[in-house]
Symmetry: C2
Subunit: 428 residues, 2 copies
């Protein structure tokens, strides 16, 4: 996980309570927890407890009371706002805060309007969605359920739907602005700013060595890293105030100097979007010739809407006969060097350019495993070929991990090779 | 989510406590919770609380005490067993149970042996991993950290590492057998059996209608459904005892009759493994010609180790010139019917067979979106072509959702079309 990003733990804290038995039955991964944990940290608020609790009124009331007893700055509840018997969040909050539920005419109208818009009659059970605890402020519904928030002692209690996109929209449109205002009013300068530098081609431990000159625990610029299949992200957190931003600018500039061309984005772009943008700006087309990745490089390139502007297509040459018959790899080369070789990677990329009439091409040939490895060509060995405007280059990689990881890493390494070549060889 | 699978809630209950700030910072999805929730439910044990708590001794002790106060049959702790300062699970359990930590020589030897095997000296900090609470039984380390379990009143407390594969291995090798024994001794017949029927091509609401003749809440055969991109799984839970198994057999047989060829597996196989096995047994080869899926069908087929036995390769024909020049789709056909058409899907699949010398082929052409849709050819429209031994068939699909979903659904629909054709046309 790299160095701990423990800034904010001394500051304001948050707790999360999720209701919904699907989270406890092993049916659904709790992506809301991931989302809220990260968004809160971006505000400088560290989550200390995140609880999934069964759809039971007593259990839910007890959970809310325990949490309020620890006096977090924020308590976010998610789920349990629908119209069914299992939806108990309204009742549980009212009981835990010892306040009655109140009917809100404007909520009922909103719910009614939503049904009308779909040409459906509102169900009797939906009426209960117009009740919220006394003193609470309603959050207009983004989907099917309204949320609400209310202050209790030191704690801002927020209740949001469990449907991820509804939760996300309410969080970004209503809750986050509210919290910015609250944090500013407290003048505690908790409000944080975050920089994310995405890199490819350097592992977390190597990055830690390269960045050893920084104080990773500096509260003005706390550094952490996070590893993904498409590289390692360097996360720098500091204060949002103007002098904090200047500090973050300085640190980011120094990190970019050290990391060099391994850094590919500071604005969140994925590798395939970035490469796509470079190709489009340069007016170049690209094709692929894949062996061990089986179509994954093409899949990633076409994940981007509008990629038909520069992506022409590709050949997946799993069988050697396809390498020779379709891509024109010489049969003698396969015999002499083997399919997993620098020479074949180069010939595949060149063959793709010819066949597809593309300006650039990428190729992959390797041993994805679990079987098929030898001492000289072990599982994880992948050659990645590239052609940019008639010039061929091949890189050799040795990827760790299982079949799926080797294939994903190889596909991203291919995209990154094209990125670096376009950066160097094509004037911006 | 389909109907609730709430069997077991009246029976034994479990609680889970996860330590590790990476879960609270939004860095890591809690896949251990998904895994444990499902495995416990398979034993007839319903999880009522799952808590992620910050790496703080006081918070952890308080969480363990609260949980024990609710007297669950099982309390599983995950994480916090490593050698660092943040690893507090041993100390927290000892304090919550009011028992001292004891040194176990055999654990130290195991840890030492693991370092020796890698030719590394054991670190001083690893010594603390040989301590567990008095009265607890050690679970031999599967990776880097030993686990332990101990009985406290009615509760079996189990401490496992946070690394998913280490946790999984300990659970399956040590904890599950232990719980089977305990459940049998109690003679409570809580032990459950589960049947999972995977289907493709029918939505959850349609399945609910087709299976309306069953009592979904029958404790002897509780029915639930779960939707994925590769179809809907029907989950039937009942008792593990012999008469319970007979009941489950009966229900499963009736469901399979109703669902017909939409059901593709009852033993957990993925669609691509299943299709791969059918091709291998029939001695047939396959190739692909992809447009809107951009390589994803080939990617799924080659997710299976050893798929080179039957997968020859493919052509991704994103650009129309590749459709004509490489796959031999007549240019006139593209003008007359458009690239997204029944005719072009057929010609692409036939072209792939010819070019690759394959016995079977699949093709995709559609509008993945978000742009490019028209009234006659809206976003989500996909034609899927197939050739099996010289006979071509095309299916028309209209998939809902975003670009990524349309592409994934189209790829799985292609695999499922091949499965159904092989089932009908190739003698087993």
């Amino acid at each position: 996980m790299g160095a701990a990003t423990d800034t904010g733990q001394a500051g304001a804290s948050a707790e999360l309570i999720f209701s919904g038995d699907e989270l406890l039955r092993g049916d659904t991964l709790n992506t809301n927890q991931l989302y809220l944990g990260e968004r809160l940290l971006d505000l400088g608020i560290f989550t200390t407890h995140a609880l999934c609790v069964t759809d039971d009124l007593r259990a839910l009331v007890e959970a809310i009371r325990s949490s309020l007893g620890r006096r977090p700055a924020v308590l976010v509840l998610s789920g349990g706002l629908g119209p069914t018997e299992d939806d108990l969040t309204r009742e549980a909050v009212a009981e835990a805060l010892d306040r009655p539920l109140e009917h809100r005419e404007e909520l009922l109208e909103m719910i009614n309007a939503r049904f009308l818009a779909r040409g459906l009659p509102m169900g009797e059970s939906n009426r209960k969605q117009a009740f919220i605890p006394r003193g609470a402020t309603a959050i207009p519904l983004t989907g099917t359920a309204p949320g609400f928030y209310t202050q209790h002692g030191e704690t801002l209690l927020v209740a949001l739907p469990g449907v991820p996109w509804e939760l996300k929209q309410m969080w970004e449109e209503t809750v986050e602005p509210l919290m910015h205002t609250a944090l500013e009013r407290q003048g505690e300068q908790h409000t944080q700013s975050v920089r994310r530098i995405r890199t490819f081609g350097i592992g977390e431990s190597m990055l830690a060595e390269m960045l050893a000159g920084f104080d990773w625990h500096d509260p003005q610029a706390t550094i952490g890293t996070r590893a993904h299949l498409d590289g390692v992200t360097i996360i720098v957190r500091g204060q949002a105030a103007p002098q904090g931003q200047r500090k973050l600018d300085t640190v980011q500039t120094r990190i970019l100097e050290i990391v060099g061309e391994h850094a590919y984005s500071t604005h969140g772009e994925d590798l395939e979007w970035l490469v796509g943008g470079m190709l489009r700006r340069a007016g170049l087309t690209v094709g692929v010739a894949e062996s061990c990745t089986g179509g994954l490089v093409g899949k990633h390139l076409t994940d981007v809407p509008g990629s038909s502007d520069y992506f022409l297509g590709g050949v997946t040459a799993y069988d050697n006969r396809v390498k020779t018959a379709v891509l024109g790899v010489p049969a003698q080369m396969l015999v002499e060097h083997g399919a997993v070789s620098r020479e074949v990677a180069a010939a595949m990329a060149e063959g793709a350019c010819r066949l597809l009439g593309a300006d650039c091409a990428l190729s992959t040939t390797g041993v994805a495993g679990p079987a098929g490895g030898t001492d000289k060509k072990p599982v994880g060995l992948v050659y990645i070929g590239s052609v940019v405007r008639g010039v061929t280059q091949v890189e050799r990689h040795q990827f760790p991990g299982e079949r799926e990881h080797v294939r994903e890493r190889a596909a991203f390494a291919a995209l990154d090779l094209l990125r670096r070549r376009l950066l160097r060889e094509v004037p911006a």
